[in-house]
Symmetry: C2
DNA sequence: GGAAGTACTGTCTTTTTTGTCAGTGCCCAC
DNA sequence: GTGGGCACTGACAAAAAAGACAGTACTTCC
């Protein structure tokens, strides 16, 4: 469990993975597609995901630099799980919207 | 995605959920079954999980107190996803063990 | 009466994670 | 030659999360 969290347990990692399921992207594209993330964090998370074998970094070695990231075969197994989690989260939000706190039985008293 | 993380995104929440898949437990049992967690954190996380509808708290209203926690029907949908993530993490650890850093193609250079 | 167990709460302090900001080296367009 | 874009790095500050530790209230056990 901790092992899994060490891989996707960053503020933006799941989002990055999610974005990349639509295909490879270069750094600046990713950055623009997730406006809330700062460049610093994006790059840090990308590096960690590459290190963990989830993403593949491809460097065209040109000037100016042109680097793309894509989900590795291994990473796609994680992406599937992340998608499920994401889907659960979406349902949860809908549930929250329709459930006022007072509706919910939060503690049950025996007897 | 953020929605899901706000529910299970605590250091011990996934572990708590995992422990509770084997059946209801009382606070002190949980505490003993996860020795690394402090009482403070256990209780905070339990409260948040109850607030999010994932767990049900049952208070026997006796003295001394006797409180049990169990996974709600709703929570079991999350537990399933967490189990999948946990399983992925386990495989990941095995992979890590057999993969020295030098084996891995971390960056691909286009021609 | 003193110790231990139950399920907590409150107030810090420490650790971890994020974010801010400046800077690098090179290019192209105006 | 000034401004902008590209993919980064490094030093630092702010914020969030986790942990330490004492305290509550009432019990049973010896």
């Amino acid at each position: 469990m901790d092992a899994a969290l060490s891989v996707i347990g960053g503020r933006w990692k799941a989002t990055i993975l999610w974005r990349l399921t639509e295909g490879p992207m270069r750094t600046s594209e990713l950055r623009r597609s997730i406006p809330q993330v700062t460049e610093r964090m994006l790059i840090r998370h990308l590096q960690e995901l590459v290190r963990d074998g989830v993403l593949i970094r491809t460097d065209a070695r040109t000037v100016p630099p042109h680097v793309t990231y894509e989900i590795s075969e291994y990473g796609s197994t994680l992406a599937a799980v992340v998608a499920a989690l994401c889907e659960w989260g979406r349902n949860h939000q809908r549930r929250q919207a329709g459930t006022s706190t007072s509706d919910v039985l939060q503690t049950r008293h025996e007897h």
